[in-house]
């Protein structure tokens, strides 16, 4: 038989809730605070994820899902109407800029419709996209810089354009511009479609290059799941297959590999620990609130049982109350938490090397936060609900919350006010422990934040981050994208080296990517290297069988630095002697598992490298200059020579000393003379120099100015110090935010426990007053209770802090620039604050208590 009693249960829950307004408010705040913690965390995490995605899109150059490439007008018109395409955008390429202004990096000249431009980050910050049937063009600021024209709408300028092999000179009028993004793959000049057609007609373009003038259809699909599959499906629907192929390009920014790939075990574990910490923090207070309220209402539940309410119904009453309170508390928490999170986001994002996007407002933040908050509430009210359900009607009538622990305590000493307070608290141990731990958590969060921030060692950080007072290089070097185009010039080096105030200086040279020398490793070493980078066994086997030389070795590209004598002292030597590098045939290696001191190793240097387009016969000296469809029809022409080295030293090369990126093989060091002798492709990586102390501020100013007008960039001890301080600040801000919220939870728990416990013994206290306890004595007794809570929390926090001392080593491993140094100073700072709370709360409760007369209180609570 099914009885519909939901309504009745709900009515009981609501009435019961409404009868205790303070409890309602406290529970809602507690649930909201817990939700705030979850929401802030998820907001920050999702914003980081969004930043990663955004960075990827910026590198790809668009956030459209995919593109159908090189379509004819007919194909374009047919495909764009497909029902699976939610939005589409068009791009047609005219050519690339050329001439003296663009000798380093060309810009692509094309027509983009509004959608394509929007997705490709080409919407002008100033002005508009070029209007049809005009001479207008919209460009990025790098194009403006290259041309050396001032950004002003209506300004006319001239461009030299490689129009499918024809070099033409054309005039344009600037209609708008946008800020060039260093991460973008290309620079752009946008022209109207009418101009594009006009150019093709005017110069009788024959379309030798198959990308010129074709239609690129960028699309947004229904979802970013399996984009490639969706694209193929669309093509098949329109009869395009292997015999009738159309190229597609899928935006790898959507491939789901971005954030998940950067989530290593450590990050996942950290997030898990934080989540558990928040659940625990929330549990401490929510459980305590429900426990207390069930204990206070136990007679009520007993009465309900007497009149025939079942165990399940009573449980359901408690859970329904939790549901109602969550329905209010969680949304508040979500809102406040998101605001808190988005305030904290910029602090975190500025420390990460990703695109600094605004706070994410992904629905997942709210789904996950609400879910976790709800789970916390459910866990927290599980036991109280069970207690309420199990209550025996008879016992409920004589239930007072003393029942736990002792049945007797010997002693004829009598008691003091302190003794009464202590007896009271030890009598209800559960409640006391929950409050003490809850308060201790916030103290621990606070002290740990302080201890860690205090342990961050600037010297340790600087010694790794910077090798001299100043370091100047191309800006790409600092963006981890150094290549042969981005070397600081020899002239710059000489100029800086002989500036006033420069004491010591050194230039480090390196062979850029594309010309990396090859080193011959044993099969075993290669296998280990590949395994380390999580290649699959099958791949490794086939790779090795393809590349194995007759002598059993395999060539691998390696990074090689040419170091001047003056810089050798900056390197930490584990074994061997760096002095030997001045002799021929000696080389040093960055500490690794595969190469030992005294090993002989053969290097293969590139003497000449050319890329030949087999269709056109054009020869390109470097990969970057091959326009647009660079991966097709290209053959490599290479001349090489071999050198055998002996490992003279095993050293440690800080990553800020070398390329600042790794290609997963060992890094080698040779003398700059040797590097010059072996490879004509070697380039200066950077110049580093020390100055006299007096000239340092001047030099800082000079370099800021000097690098502003060039592609150069610099870093200095002062900048690194600032970045260290900024990291520390982020840490302190996050720690402080966490401490504050956890602290609020602890204090709320304390307040609630104090108020409910005083309310529940109103009559007991009235009786004490009747028998002659003065207001002062009563107040003092309550204050003692508060102080015991605080004292207990401080001691618990101290113990928890002491436990972290052995973890110092681990902490030093996580934060390599940390010298873990324990201090109880933050605890000492925290105690007076807590003590004030511990005194004020009981005093306030006392004041509210004595508003009711003794007689009223003696009668009440029957």
């Amino acid at each position: 038989m099914k009885i519909n009693n939901q309504k009745c249960v709900h009515r009981l829950s609501i009435r019961n809730l409404l009868s205790a307004k303070t409890r309602c408010i406290v529970s809602v705040i507690a649930i909201a605070l817990t939700t705030i913690l979850f929401t802030s965390l998820f907001t920050i995490l999702m914003t980081i994820a969004k930043g990663f995605e955004e960075s990827n899109f910026r590198q790809v150059g668009t956030y459209s899902h995919a593109e159908f490439k090189r379509l004819t007008k007919e194909q374009y018109d047919e495909l764009r109407t497909d029902e699976d395409i939610v939005e589409y955008g068009l791009r047609r390429v005219a050519g690339v800029t050329t001439g003296e202004y663009f000798d380093k990096e060309y810009a692509e000249v094309s027509y983009m419709d509004k959608n394509y431009a929007k997705w490709g980050y080409c919407i002008p910050d100033n002005g508009t996209l070029p209007k049809e049937n005009t001479n207008e063009a919209t460009v990025d600021t790098r194009v403006l810089d290259c041309l050396g024209i001032e950004p002003k709408i209506g300004k006319s300028f001239t461009l030299e354009i490689d129009l499918d092999g024809i070099i033409v000179t054309e005039d344009f009028i600037l209609s708008g511009w946008w800020e060039y993004d260093e991460a973008a793959p290309a620079s752009h000049v946008l022209i109207p479609e009418s101009r594009l057609e006009e150019l093709f007609t005017k110069y009788n373009v024959q379309f030798y290059n198959d990308y010129i003038g074709k239609y690129g259809l960028g699309v947004m699909l229904k979802s970013d799941y399996n984009i490639e599959g969706q694209m193929v499906e669309i093509l098949e629907r329109h009869g395009f297959n292997d015999e009738n192929p159309i190229d597609i390009g899928v935006n790898w920014g959507y491939m789901g590999e971005n954030i998940t790939e950067s989530l290593d075990f450590g990050s996942v574990a950290t997030i898990a620990v934080i989540l558990i910490f928040i659940i625990f923090t929330g549990y401490l207070i929510i459980y305590n609130i429900f426990r207390i309220s069930v204990a206070n209402d136990i007679r009520h539940y007993g009465m309900l049982k007497t009149i025939g309410t079942t165990q399940t119904q009573i449980k359901s009453i408690v859970q329904t109350q939790a549901l109602i309170l969550s329905a209010i508390g969680i949304p508040i928490g979500l809102l406040v938490g998101w605001i808190t999170g988005s305030v904290l986001c910029p602090v975190v994002m500025s420390e990460l090397n990703i695109y600094n996007s605004s706070a994410s407002i992904s629905p997942w933040i709210f789904v996950f936060s609400a879910l976790f908050a709800w789970i916390t509430v459910m866990i927290s009210c599980f036991r109280p609900a069970k207690t309420a359900g199990k209550v025996s009607p008879v016992e409920a009538l004589r239930y007072t919350e003393q029942a736990s622990g002792f049945s007797s305590r010997n002693g004829k000493k009598g008691v003091s006010l302190f003794g009464m307070a202590a007896a009271r608290l030890t009598g209800s141990k559960g409640k006391t422990v929950l409050v003490v731990v809850s308060l201790a958590l916030s103290i621990v969060t606070f002290t740990l934040t302080f201890i860690l921030a205090n342990s961050f060692n600037m010297e340790k950080y600087l010694s790794d981050q910077i090798q001299a007072d100043f370091l100047v290089a191309d800006s790409k070097y600092f963006a981890y994208r150094w290549n042969k185009e981005n070397a600081i010039s020899l002239e710059d080096n000489e100029f800086l080296r002989y500036m006033d105030g420069v004491t010591d200086s050194f230039v480090t040279y390196a062979i850029p990517s594309g010309y990396y020398p090859q080193a011959y490793f044993s099969e075993k070493a290669v296998r280990e290297i590949l395994t380390e980078y999580e290649e699959e066994e099958e791949y490794i086997d086939s790779y090795i069988s393809r590349n194995l030389e007759a002598d059993g070795t395999i060539a691998q590209s390696v990074q090689l630095l040419g170091v001047e004598d003056t810089a050798l002292s900056k390197l930490k030597v584990y074994e061997g002697d760096l002095a030997k590098l001045s002799e021929n045939g000696y080389i040093a290696v960055n500490k690794n598992d595969h190469i030992k001191l005294g090993d002989k190793i053969t290097f293969l240097y590139t003497d000449k490298l050319e890329y030949v387009n087999t269709q056109t016969g054009t020869t390109y000296t470097d990969f970057e200059s091959i326009p647009l469809n660079k991966y097709e029809f290209i053959e490599i022409n290479e001349e090489t020579h071999k050198v055998e080295y002996e490992i003279a030293a095993v050293i440690e090369v800080p990553y800020t000393f070398g390329y600042r990126f790794s290609i997963d093989t060992p890094l080698f060091i040779t003398s700059s003379e040797d590097l010059f002798a072996q490879s004509e492709y070697c380039k200066p990586l950077y110049i580093a120099f020390d100055t006299t102390e007096e000239t340092e501020p001047e030099m800082e100013k000079f370099l800021a100015d000097y690098t502003k007008s060039s592609t150069l960039s610099y870093t200095s001890r002062a900048i690194e110090e600032a970045s260290f301080e900024s990291f520390k600040r982020m840490f302190v801000i996050l720690g402080a935010a966490l401490s504050i919220i956890v602290g609020l939870i602890g204090v709320l728990n304390f307040i609630n426990t104090m108020i409910t416990s005083i309310n529940s013994r109103q009559r007991e206290i009235a009786a004490l007053q009747a028998m002659g306890m003065t207001g002062r004595q009563l107040c003092l007794m309550l204050v003692w209770e508060g102080i015991i809570y605080i004292g207990g929390s401080a001691i618990t926090a101290l113990i928890l802090n002491l436990i972290t001392i052995p973890l110092g080593k681990l902490i030093e491993e996580i934060f390599w620039f940390c010298d873990y140094s324990f201090t109880i100073l933050p605890l000492i700072v925290a105690i007076p604050v807590l003590a004030i709370i511990g005194i004020i709360i009981p005093v306030i409760t006392y004041k509210t208590l004595i508003k009711k007369s003794i007689v009223e209180r003696l009668r009440g609570n029957e």
Binding site: E764, A767, L768, M771, G772, S853
Partner: protein, 223 residues
């Protein structure tokens, strides 16, 4: 000598048509060592009277003299101190401090006053009330009768001028009620203790030396 005197004690609640005359000009005298019971139906004003006598509530007019002292001339704090020295309470629901053991509960009023308990006297109270075996127990592990005996011991401990008992047997079964009344009677005699007890139970009231009847805030007999 009258240890307790009241003059024209009045206490009204509410106003206009709803005005309730809880006490309407009560004049009362209790002699040293007397065991007086005050009886009346619920709402007769007997509890209000007891609260006035104990200085827990202030009258609208009239005076209460305890041991010759006009208690309402005292400030709140002074009155509290006076109360713990001169007045002992026994409540219907015992009102023991649940976190303190029996002994600690008994000596609590003395210690609140900052005095050392007179152990010989306390021991004799404990013995009289049959609590010797229970001194270490916490109140929740005692029966109702035992708890009330602790409450009586607590009221006696400070050697008050007067003990005010508010329905001391209200929560007890009849057998236990008889025991507790017996003990009250014995202590009244043995320690020459003045006791004013309110009750609605005629049978219980009969055990006192004198019965005062109160109706609608006025003493109707036994003055």
């Amino acid at each position: 000598m009258a240890i307790l005197e009241t003059y024209n004690l009045k206490k009204f609640y509410g106003s206009g048509e709803n005005e309730v005359h809880a006490l309407d000009g009560v004049i009362l005298e209790v002699e040293q060592g007397e065991f007086v019971s005050v009886v009346g139906t619920s709402g007769s004003g007997k509890s209000t009277l007891l609260h006035m006598l104990g200085g827990l509530d202030r009258p609208d007019s009239g005076d209460v003299f305890v041991d010759g002292k006009d208690i309402f001339s005292l400030g709140d704090e002074e009155l509290t101190i006076f109360r713990r020295r001169k007045i002992g309470f026994v409540f219907q629901n015992y009102n023991l401090v649940p976190s303190l053991n029996v002994y600690e509960n008994i000596v609590l009023p003395i210690q609140l006053d900052g005095r050392e308990p007179d152990s010989k006297y306390i021991d004799s109270i404990i013995e009289t009330l049959g609590l010797t075996e229970k001194l270490g127990n916490l109140p929740n592990n005692l029966s109702g009768g035992q708890q009330q005996r602790v409450a009586i011991a607590r009221a006696l401990a400070a050697k008050p001028a007067i003990i005010l008992a508010d329905e001391p047997t209200g929560n007890l079964d009849s057998k236990t009620s008889q025991d507790v009344m017996g003990l009250l009677k014995i202590t009244s005699e043995r320690f020459a203790q003045t006791i004013v007890m309110i009750t609605h139970n005629e049978e219980i009231a009969q055990m006192a030396d004198r019965i005062i009847r109160i109706e609608d805030g006025k003493i109707v007999s036994g003055k």
